[in-house]
């Protein structure tokens, strides 16, 4: 599964991960297309890429973990690969993994089910004396019941 990184500027999903070594320390910036445009960052012009690092600096803990190596051989690149190498990686790269896990939550899941909804539509159609519509809804419900009956028989 693809992981979703959040943009360090706006929090939206980031399409680009920039890495740069400053005074022996690796710096990382996650940035989305919108923020690249807004801040005049062009990947073909190195000066503008450096501007991204000036505008946004990592927390010291992120920078520290980016430079670490686990006993299994996994490095701070776990943030871009999304692959842990052993159980201990989950502790050693905790701050980096929390960055990876900052995904957008799915929209709320609807409650109730389709049959309930169809039943409500059927009652409404009968109340309003739309009998042709009611017949169509009734047939739909029968189709679903038949399909479920077949499943139960097979089981």
């Amino acid at each position: 599964m693809n992981k979703i990184l959040k943009c360090d500027f706006c929090g939206n999903p980031a399409a680009t991960l920039l890495q740069h070594v400053v005074e022996g320390e690796q710096k990382t910036v996650r940035i989305c297309g919108d923020c690249m445009r807004k801040n005049g960052i062009d990947l073909t012009i190195p000066e503008t890429i450096l501007r991204a690092f000036e505008l946004c600096s990592n927390s010291p803990e992120i920078d520290r973990q980016l430079g670490e190596v686990c006993a299994c051989g996994t490095t701070g690149e776990v943030i871009s690969s999304g692959l842990a190498g052993c159980e201990k990686c989950y502790d050693q790269f905790r701050v980096l993994l929390e960055e990876v896990w900052k995904t957008e939550p799915p929209d709320s899941v609807p409650s109730g089910n389709c049959e309930d909804s169809l039943q409500a539509q059927l009652e409404s159609a009968i109340d309003e004396e739309r009998y042709e519509d009611a017949a169509v809804i009734r047939d739909k419900m029968q189709h679903i019941e038949e399909a479920e009956d077949v499943d139960e028989e097979e089981a």
Binding site: A84, N113, H143, A147, A155
Partner: protein, 353 residues
């Protein structure tokens, strides 16, 4: 019996996802996957060859003891690996670093599969034809319990079960179904894909994420739907969500079949006519025609053949067709013999071939 013979025997029958397609079957197969790692060892992609083999040796007695048969990947040809992938029995990652010490353990009915040393030490898969997701979950959990008795899994209180893909930690339980929705596709119901996204589900091709074809005729009508939430929601909640989705998609497909527009009916009739009279068979055209033929038969638009026969023919062609889409395997039904065979099945007339 040699592994080669066992493999041939296994692949003689249709795969689980192609065993079932009745008039009211929208869900053709259900599948549950659970990745787990053994405690106290590096994950497979951080292991050397010796460690991979030792891990396999450690779990082998437990897995064969539950009635599973071993198929060693290192002894298989690429074609055989492809066969298992096609049947949903391999994960398809197959990266270089796990080719060694990797085996797939399968039961004779392909309901339970355990892949050892793929991305994680153990990947349990349960699968059933038709809408049987709940059964798959129960069976997967039972298998997990059985294995964990002798091999404790890597886990901690804060993160749950620990996996190679850090986004799969937690329960790790992945629910998926394969659906066949020709009428929704024909009617171009864009609200369907919006609804899938709104529910936080994922589309995938018939053989998993990354195998959604771009243009073939079945690209839009046969697909997997994945529930990828493994952390924030419990398995029980995800199961309820998937079952609710199944009710939704079943109702939508049946509604679309009933409401096929005049233009769609014309397409069905035209394609069916072409198939019944053709002299050569292009693979894509054949599948498009067969799919439309099924739709026409289910809807009572075409009534000059037996539905079970056309269903058999559809699946006979489907397997090879889909694999050729993804793997570039040589297409086999472009010759006149194939065309005559399809034609004879459709029209009921014998041909000299």
């Amino acid at each position: 019996m040699s592994m080669k013979k066992r493999l041939r025997r296994l692949t003689k029958n249709p795969p689980v996802w192609a065993k079932r397609l009745g008039r009211n079957d929208v869900v053709t197969a259900s599948r549950v996957g659970i990745p787990r790692n053994l405690s106290g060892r590096p994950f497979p992609h951080r292991m050397n060859r010796g460690d991979l083999v030792r891990t396999l040796d450690d779990v082998r007695p437990t897995l064969t003891g539950t009635g599973l048969t071993e198929y060693s990947v290192s002894e298989m040809s690429d074609f055989d690996v492809g066969l298992l992938w096609e049947r949903g029995l391999s994960l398809g990652h197959n990266p270089e670093y796990t080719a060694h010490g990797k085996s797939i353990f399968i039961d004779p009915y392909e309901r339970r599969t355990v892949v050892v040393n793929e991305l994680d030490h153990i990947w349990m898969i349960t699968a059933r034809a038709g809408n049987r997701l709940r059964d798959c979950v129960f069976e997967a959990v039972a298998m997990e319990d059985e294995i964990s008795c002798s091999h404790p899994f890597a886990a901690n209180d804060r993160d749950g079960f620990l996996t190679s893909w850090v986004e799969q930690h937690g329960t790790g339980v992945r629910l998926s179904i394969i659906i066949f929705i020709p009428a929704v596709t024909l009617e171009a119901r864009e609200d369907f894909s919006a609804e899938v996204e709104r529910r936080g589900l994922l589309f995938a091709g018939p053989f998993g994420i990354g195998t959604m074809p771009e243009n073939p005729p079945l690209g839009g009508s046969l697909m997997q739907i994945w529930c990828h939430s493994v952390n924030e929601e419990g398995t029980a909640n995800n199961l309820v969500m998937m079952e609710d989705f199944i009710r939704y998609v079943t109702a939508l497909e049946l509604e679309c079949r009933e409401n096929l527009s005049l233009g769609s009916l014309d397409i069905i009739a035209r394609m069916w006519g072409i198939l019944s009279n053709r002299l050569t068979a292009d693979e894509s055209d054949t599948m498009a025609s067969l799919e439309l033929g099924l739709l026409g038969a289910w809807n009572g638009i075409i009534d000059d053949f037996e539905i079970p026969n056309i269903q058999k023919l559809f699946y006979l062609c489907l397997d090879g067709h889909l694999m050729s889409c993804y793997t570039g395997r040589k297409k086999i039904d472009t010759d006149i013999v194939r065309a005559n065979f399809v034609k004879s099945c459709v029209t009921g007339e014998s041909t000299s071939g």
